[in-house]
């Protein structure tokens, strides 16, 4: 057992898989000697050499396109977008090729690649360093989208993502990269890529969230407990495919649901979850399904960002609201 922060768990997972599978290579801007701007690839270049951990020219479309080509030819590239705000030049290659190579060729070629990107706000970064646009990738058929919320889940989910025979967008909530440490066993055990994690059992309300917002969600659940309100907390983790069954099961029990995410509300992933409930749990619902999310505005610069990111207060207000009405 080692005690690690999430960003270290990410490194450990890559190191494990690189050691056990020669076809895994890590590529991106500054991932080599520098070990990534967040140190997520720290030590990998020293251990595996610059033919396995490759500093690329500064061109995200190129990185993604190379990864499509390499993965179709039998390698397993794990590429990094330095920040999610710089992932957009990759979109064409991901949407037009990575996600559809298997389908297009009836299985003859495929793209077992992972696109990692730190995302989300709260670290006082400059413009375009703090957005959360997981919904864009979740809407694309043929992609898996995974977001860990703890060191152990980051380790197990990233291992699974690298091993998965299809492309995975792996988004790392950088606000909690070093938030707390967790004991993990560095044993190469992966986690399933299609189930939610129920982090806390409860009976009165279901709080659904993922990534960095799990922090505020769990804090809210603690505070609610002190008021005698029992909240179930679900970490979606695998955004796509979405494990609606676990969420529905919970809401059938609690009758109430709040979805919490950092991204803008309009057409965010929260909408999909609420829509799933409106379809499959409508009779179980005792109250409106509320979303506590970022506003539909540009992620503000650092002085204002904590007013954008939903806090415990907003979560509690929403819970109170739906407990009252019902």
């Amino acid at each position: 057992m080692t005690s690690v922060a999430m960003v270290e768990a990410v490194s450990l997972a890559m190191a494990w898989e690189m050691a056990s599978d020669d076809s895994v290579v890590v590529m991106g801007e500054d991932v080599g000697v520098n070990g990534g701007v967040f140190r997520a690839t720290s030590g990998l270049e020293a251990r595996f050499g610059d033919q396995r951990v490759i500093d690329t020219p500064l061109a995200e479309a190129m990185i993604a396109g190379l990864a499509v080509g390499m993965s179709a030819q039998g390698m397993k590239p794990v590429i990094e977008a330095q920040f999610m705000g710089f992932i957009y030049p990759m979109v064409e290659q991901i949407v037009c090729h990575a996600s559809r190579m298997r389908h297009r060729t009836r299985g003859r070629l495929s793209c077992p690649m992972v696109l990692r990107a730190p995302f989300g706000g709260g670290i006082h970064a400059p413009e375009l360093h703090s957005e959360s646009t997981e919904a864009i990738f979740a809407h694309i058929p043929g992609l898996r989208v995974v977001i860990p919320s703890s060191p152990a889940r980051a380790y197990g989910l990233l291992l699974a993502a690298i091993r998965d025979p299809d492309p995975v967008v792996f988004l790392e909530p950088k606000r909690i990269y070093r938030l707390n440490r967790e004991e993990i066993e560095d044993n190469g055990e992966d986690l399933p890529l299609d189930v939610c994690f129920v982090l806390r059992d409860g009976t009165d309300v279901t709080l659904v969230s993922w990534g960095s917002m799990i922090k505020e969600t769990l804090e809210s659940a603690d505070l609610l407990a002190t008021r005698g309100i029992s909240a179930e907390v679900i970490d979606v983790a695998t955004i796509s495919p979405l494990d609606m069954d676990t969420i529905i099961e919970s809401v059938e029990k609690t009758g109430r649901c709040i979805i919490i995410h950092e991204a803008a509300r309009m057409c965010g992933v929260g909408a999909e979850i609420a829509a799933g409930l409106a379809d499959s749990a409508i009779y179980a619902l005792h109250a409106p399904v509320k979303r506590v999310t970022g506003y539909d505005v540009i992620m503000p610069l650092q002085k204002m960002e904590m007013n954008y990111i939903p806090g415990v207060k907003r979560i509690l207000t929403a819970v109170e609201e739906i407990l009252e009405v019902s």
């Binding site: 061109a59 190129m62 499509v68 030819q73 064409e92 299985g107 025979p165 299609d194």
Partner: protein, 357 residues
């Protein structure tokens, strides 16, 4: 007084004049390799016959939109024939001749353009990429393949082409840069057929050549007469050999002409001069090679007739095979999305099978 710190030039290569005569005696061995030249000629003619039939199939509602390769035969056959099977090819939507050389079959090509993805599961080298629709993106796939070969220490080369239009897109330029950064075993071919749908070459940029884009990455870059199979093939062989032996990438601009509409969905009369097309027929590649071979006594009308008949039969059989292929089934929409189909998608599959019957 500035110091000149780097100089570059673009050379133009042509061996066969438009009328089929050799321009000089300084020619590559292929110019007198009569067996090989005849084999290339056969491929060019067969491709043209196939192409004509494919257009006809579209016109009669038996196939979808199709991009004719008419006029590009020298460029395409040179590319396709210069590669080894273990090399990797990343085509776009027009290089049917190159794909036939690689072993993709006619029915497979028709099946794809007939609107069935199964055509992509082809018999050409199984590692070749399939048709690429988003312009220039294939350049990076080829670069990625080349990087994979290099990292694994394999003596394999990736070959890709882009159009004159496509050469304006960032991906192509990023591929040149990647080739330069990683010293990739890659051959980047610009098939400059003067038109990108309705946009003439002159609107893509005002540079003298497109080949000089390779200079951006310091890559050896040349221009060849793209209707001269000897020049095209020589350029391909030289570049592929260089790439295979660790010499890095080359950019080759092949000057040719799109003799017909962009695709069957296009009507080129709307935007270009009939006279320009007429003129272009004077320099087209098939007749040029035939003239050369006939003048050299290697080819004659009898051989031509036999070839036409043989190719006609081959194409007719391919069409028959294509037309008798089963339609794709609804399950196929779902079955190739993931190796491990997620539960929710499995549910949609079940529903679709019910709904679509």
């Amino acid at each position: 007084m500035p110091a000149t710190i780097a100089s570059f030039k673009i050379d133009f290569y042509q061996f066969l004049a438009a009328d089929g005569r050799l321009i000089s005696d300084d020619v590559p061995p292929l110019a007198t390799d009569w067996e090989e030249l005849q084999s290339l000629y056969r491929l060019m003619v067969t491709t043209r016959i196939f192409d004509k039939k494919a257009v006809a199939l579209q016109r009669t509602g038996k196939m979808g939109t199709y991009a004719s390769s008419l006029g590009h035969e020298a460029a395409h056959i040179a590319m396709g024939s210069a590669m080894r099977p273990e090399d990797c090819y990343a085509p776009t939507y027009r290089e049917h001749g190159a794909q036939l050389c690689r072993g993709v079959t006619m029915p497979e090509i028709l099946r794809y353009w007939g609107g069935d993805e199964h055509g992509c599961d082809f018999s050409g080298p199984r590692h070749d990429f399939s048709w690429c629709i988003p312009i220039a993106t294939q350049c990076l796939h080829a670069a990625g393949a080349a990087l994979a070969f290099k990292l694994r220490g394999e003596q394999r080369v990736a070959v890709v082409q882009v159009g004159d239009g496509g050469s304006s897109k960032g991906d192509f330029l990023e591929a040149i840069n990647a080739a330069s950064a990683f010293q990739l075993p890659l051959v980047l071919v610009i098939i400059n057929n003067q038109w990108a749908i309705s946009v003439p070459r002159s609107k893509q940029n005002s540079a003298t050549t497109l080949a000089q884009k390779g200079i951006a990455g310091g890559l050896p870059s040349i221009q060849v007469d793209g209707n001269d199979i000897i020049a095209c093939r020589w350029a391909m062989e030289t570049a592929i050999e260089k790439a295979r032996t660790g010499g890095g990438a080359t950019v080759i601009e092949m000057l040719t002409y799109r003799l017909t509409d962009h695709t069957t969905a296009d009507d080129a009369r709307r935007y270009r001069d009939e006279q320009e097309v007429k003129n272009a027929w004077q320099t087209e590649p098939v007749k040029r090679l035939r003239n050369y071979l006939q003048a050299e006594g290697v080819w004659n009308d009898k051989k031509e007739l036999a070839l036409l008949e043989q190719a006609g039969v081959e194409v007719a059989q391919a069409v028959e095979e294509y037309l008798s292929m089963p339609d794709p089934d609804v399950a196929g929409m779902f079955d190739y999305m993931f190796e491990n189909t997620p539960a929710e998608l499995e549910a949609q599959r079940t529903q679709a099978l019910k709904e679509c019957n």
